[in-house]
Symmetry: C2
DNA sequence: CATATTGTGTAGTATACAATACACAATAAG
DNA sequence: CTTATTGTGTATTGTATACTACACAATATG
């Protein structure tokens, strides 16, 4: 499985560090509850280094990033979203496959209409 | 992770067997490429017995079932669907969460409109 | 300059996942 | 009634995932 998370969070962390010296690898590691050596492996994209969803969420919070994006970068999908799909697999699989080639704005339009209660 | 697959496929296999004697556990196991003892464990819902997506697909074909349904029952989501979500995690996570409480017919309506190109 | 901090290298661990191999008792078929 | 077939029990295996522990060299700080 791909691991694009590392490069992304290293860049974000270094960017944050420009204005706030506290964003060291060790501080971040401590905050999400892993050994610094392990976070180092992740940031450098070592293929055998992964984080659990829980830790990716803590990381997202600390780096002010969207958890779904960070999960996506490490090849994962939020457990709650997975659960929704698993309850009605045919329906959701169908919908998602149909939306594969739709541009973002078309999907956002659906989101808005669903929220407005047009269904 | 839950494993409701076992009960479901045992019932389906036994139903098929009523009219076709070839639907034995051993035959099905041979068809999908696992040891009979392993399929036995799965059908009886032993928590530590799982099948890969590839084998669940072969099983679905052989039992004339929807692969997405069988994947769902074993707590999985089709790889191709996962890939679609991972490419635009924010967008899809948002949409799926918003659709959580929508009735089937409302989601089907969206599917139909997407297919009709109303976007 | 001494020392504190930082990132990284190496080695090792626990658990989940995805199976195999083979023996065996119960049932079915010839 | 013998033989074949069926489902299951037990033991074991390999790989992926998700980490820890600790040493160490380079860099930064007082």
């Amino acid at each position: 499985m791909i691991n694009a998370l590392g490069k992304y969070i290293r860049e974000k962390r270094e960017a944050l560090r420009e204005t706030d010296r506290r964003y060291t690898l060790r501080k971040v590691a401590g905050h999400i509850g892993v050994e610094p050596s392990y976070l180092s492996k992740i940031e450098r994209g070592e293929t055998s280094a992964y984080l659990t969803e829980e830790k990716i969420r803590l990381l997202a919070e600390y780096l002010n990033e969207d958890p779904d994006v960070l999960l996506g970068l490490s090849g994962k999908i939020s457990q709650d979203v997975q659960e929704i799909i698993r309850r009605r697999p045919q329906l959701f699989a169908q919908l998602i496959r149909d939306l594969k080639r739709m541009p973002d704005h078309a999907i956002l339009k659906i989101v808005r209409e669903v929220r407005d209660g047009n269904w």
